[in-house]
């Protein structure tokens, strides 16, 4: 720094937003969703989100220290990964498994690739994908929303002893006398039993599901705030939602008795939180204008395909991971033409 001459490479024009400022605002935008999640699922959701955040930040800090580098937790990105991971896990998820998923998120999902800016995949989704493959039963165990006593006691599986299997939740649900809850999310009900859920309920979010994915309305509002602050690429969100809606509309028109309405597709499951907070991850999404649309459409179409024809009832996670993997390719194929340059073929013709 004592050198008086500063030599810098481009870019010389910088936006007003620094990395940590954007990240901080994303955290602000996630706060209402966390709050709603806690209101809906109670104490268990609170400790789940806190655990994920703490372990993610801790892993990042520890790994940086281990490599003898200055810690990078100050850029808030580990905190975002942690909060997001907490929001996309089921509220009853045992904390020790959430901690494992967090370590995988930051360790394998981000640091192995070289840290923020080098990760190919969205770290939170890497953690969730690992948990999905490792703990198949706990990650598909759902608890009802708005259960009474949710502020007085934890869901019994929350404090499962590390490395032990979570207890059966049925006695707990019976004790709480939760009637009519079958342990299925609206998506599972639709897929396996063709039972529709009220759109209003889905929109507001008083349904079973991952801790923070249920309220489409709230997620959309938070997304709008970020888009307004120009901290989120609204084109990605729009193309994900539009392609999912159009694609599911085609099937719905064909056979409304089996296939869900486009509105159901948009408001159910994790599509909204995936589109707004995961697909828009700046590191793992394309940068070209056309590429953004292609990327979003891949996510929308693949999600609907997995939901309608795959073995799983939810496919947002795999759709986004797949599109993440395709991002470098999309970027390469959609490089805009340099102003004034002519295509090679035309050149030959001329």
């Amino acid at each position: 720094m004592s050198d008086p001459v500063h030599l810098k490479t481009s870019p010389h024009l910088r936006g007003a937003h620094s990395v940590d400022k954007i990240m901080r605002h994303v955290v602000y935008a996630l706060m209402p969703i966390c709050l709603f999640s806690i209101v809906q699922f109670g104490l268990s959701a609170l400790v789940l989100i806190l655990t994920c955040t703490a372990v993610c930040v801790g892993t990042e800090h520890f790994a940086c220290r281990l490599n003898g580098r200055p810690t990078t937790v100050g850029d808030w990105s580990a905190a975002i990964t942690g909060v997001l991971l907490g929001l996309i896990l089921p509220p009853s998820f045992p904390l020790w498994m959430a901690a494992v998923a967090s370590v995988v998120s930051i360790g394998i999902g981000k640091l192995f690739f070289g840290g923020l800016g080098f990760n190919v995949f969205n770290p939170a989704l890497v953690g969730r994908a690992f948990a999905q493959a490792a703990f198949t039963v706990p990650i598909t165990t759902w608890t009802p929303a708005m259960a009474h006593a949710r502020f007085k006691e934890f869901i019994p599986s929350t404090f499962t002893f590390p490395f032990a299997a979570p207890p059966d939740l049925r006695p707990w649900m019976e004790r709480l006398q939760i009637d009519g809850f079958t342990g299925a999310t609206p998506l599972a009900l639709m897929k396996f039993d063709y039972v529709d859920t009220e759109s209003a309920k889905l929109f507001v979010g008083t349904v079973a599901g991952s801790a923070g994915e249920t309220s489409s309305m709230l997620i959309l509002l938070c997304g709008l705030y970020l888009a307004y602050r120009k901290m989120l690429n609204w084109k990605i969100v729009a193309s994900v939602l539009a392609s999912a809606a159009v694609f599911s509309w085609i099937f719905w028109v064909k056979d409304p008795s089996v296939y869900p309405t486009p509105l159901f597709t948009l408001t159910s499951g994790g599509l909204m939180i995936g589109a707004v907070f995961m697909a828009t991850d700046m590191v793992s999404s394309p940068v070209t204008p056309l590429g953004v649309v292609i990327y979003g459409s891949i996510i929308g179409v693949v999600t609907v395909m997995i939901r309608l024809f795959g073995g799983l009832n939810e496919g947002v996670m795999y759709a986004i991971l797949l599109a993440n993997a395709a991002t470098p390719l999309i970027n390469n194929l959609t490089q805009p033409r340099i102003y004034g340059a002519v295509r090679r073929k035309k050149e030959v013709k001329a």
């Binding site: 493959a133 703990f135 198949t136 706990p138 499962t160 490395f163 032990a164």
Partner: protein
């Protein structure tokens, strides 16, 4: 390696550690990832490969002066394929369960590059006894590597070892470890461990 050297302990231990086919040479990774979901499968696969390695090494070494250079690869492949077919029948005769668990990977021993590599690089240049000793070392090294993966994957993925319960009843199995991605994770973990170990040894060698 082509220089005729005297047979010593190195001939045998080479494959076990210093030139371990999986951890050092990274050969034959396809079965390493595919059939190590249980320790039993890993052991069966390792032994089948060892059998093929030893027998083909012996025969190639016996015929090394007869086989003209131009057709050597073709000859080696026929010899290897012969022993693989024999291994295939033998495993079926011993246990159909193991045979079904290993699936196509027994037949695929034919294209396992460790075996052709050994035939080409060692057996075709050394006497039968040396070839057999070396092949045994390599085979055991391969089996050892497979077992390293198989044991970790079975214990973590199912809480069992060779089909016997080793973890407490309440243990939550991490099913990812018996699924294909688990193979990659565990292999990476072992490679990391090996690399760290080697690095440490080298550092010590420098300071000493």
């Amino acid at each position: 390696m082509s220089a005729p050297e005297k047979m010593n302990l190195q001939t045998f231990t080479q494959g076990l550690w210093k030139e371990n086919p999986v951890f050092v040479m990274m050969l034959g990774l396809c079965p390493v990832l595919a059939v190590t979901n249980t320790a039993m499968n890993a052991l069966a696969m390792g032994l089948a490969t060892t059998f093929v390695l030893i027998c083909s090494g012996f025969l190639v070494s016996l015929l090394r002066k007869v086989i003209p250079k131009q057709v050597r690869i073709a000859s080696y492949i026929i010899i290897i394929a012969t022993f693989v077919t024999m291994a295939d029948y033998l495993i079926q005769a011993i246990s159909l369960e193991v045979y079904q668990a290993l699936g196509a990977f027994i037949q695929l021993i034919v294209v396992n590059c460790i075996i052709l590599g050994r035939a080409e690089a060692y057996a075709s240049k050394n006497g039968p006894l040396k070839a057999v000793v070396n092949a045994t070392g390599m085979g055991l090294g391969f089996t050892f590597a497979l077992l390293c993966l198989g044991v970790v994957r079975e214990v973590l993925g199912g809480g069992t070892l060779f089909g016997m319960q080793v973890m407490p009843d309440r243990f939550q199995p991490w099913s990812i470890f018996v699924l294909p991605p688990g193979g990659f994770f565990v292999l990476a973990f072992w490679l990391m461990l090996f690399a760290a170990f080697e690095e440490r040894k080298q550092k010590k060698g420098v300071t000493a």
